[in-house]
Symmetry: C2
DNA sequence: TAAATCCCTATTATGTCAATAGGGATTATT
DNA sequence: AATAATCCCTATTGACATAATAGGGATTTA
């Protein structure tokens, strides 16, 4: 039930780009510094996100990355599915990454039914939250004084 | 966002024991056959579940395993937490398996806030569903004709 | 006493993950 | 034209986790 470090880095990097949406491109080095992400590792991840159509890049001196689409158009679900794979806790309830499991009768497996509910709950959140939402939250959290934050989570 | 094979085996084995709750003990071999689980691997898992207090065993000829508590008393959350660890998608939002992440400001991390929501959604289901619920579902699914099952998921 | 079980530890094979390495291609600036 | 700064691409590594196997020991029943 875990997101890999790679997936987390991808979201953190996209958040930086989303916060700079409309401005100039952002260098890998900058993102790496701001977010404590190993630069070379981040290179791979950002490059991979181009295949998703989430980011685009400019090469050469004063090059960098920016979002290829408006932030309200990029969901967490699409990002995680692209860099990690299934959102479902077991692949036998996954829509796009389905694999048969080793249980004797999949159609009558009660565990599968529960796992399908878990999947739905996760997907519902991840498909609904966009990079624009993350930006909103980030800005709201930025304004909140430290003493308030203790009570939010 | 994935359950390991080990965790899946644990639940499948416990389901078998729950369906036989009140009867005699069940041999590893029987569970292994019914559920297509490698016997030696299953040994380790069941033994580990004793530490959780979920199962107890009788040794020797005509030995085997049975639930140590009523099935309505054993939640999926407790099982998965014991054999796998955190239910949370990232450890910085985990209650019992908390670990600080590498992001610059955890208290103001908007990603963390979303991940906390995902955690809540998963925990809500996993803490509520017990082995007794799985038994109910199993029996209901057993009665359903094949043609109905196509429409359930 | 023999057979069937659970019990325990060690080992292995495989794969994944996170990161590093090393250079190539492109572009802006001087 | 030269230089420096960036992105681009592939390969490799080291560490770790996972899934399983192996081999015997302890216990109980028949």
């Amino acid at each position: 039930m875990k997101l890999s470090v790679r997936g987390e880095y991808a979201i953190r990097a996209l958040l930086v780009l989303a916060l700079n949406y409309g401005d100039d491109v952002v260098r890998i080095q900058t993102i790496s510094d701001q977010q404590n992400i190993p630069k070379k590792f981040l290179e791979q991840i950002l490059n991979d996100l181009k295949a998703l159509g989430a980011v685009e890049s400019r090469r050469g001196a004063s090059g960098g990355y920016r979002l290829a689409r408006p932030p309200q158009n990029i969901t967490l679900a699409s990002v995680v599915r692209h860099v990690e794979g299934a959102l479902a806790p077991v692949s036998c309830v996954s829509d796009r990454f389905y694999e048969r499991c080793t249980c004797p009768d999949e159609a009558r497996c009660p565990i599968r039914a529960v796992m399908a509910e878990v999947r739905e709950a996760v997907v519902k959140i991840m498909e609904q939250v966009t990079l624009a939402d993350l930006c909103d939250r980030a800005r709201r959290l930025q304004r909140a004084p430290q003493t308030m934050l203790d009570y939010i989570i």
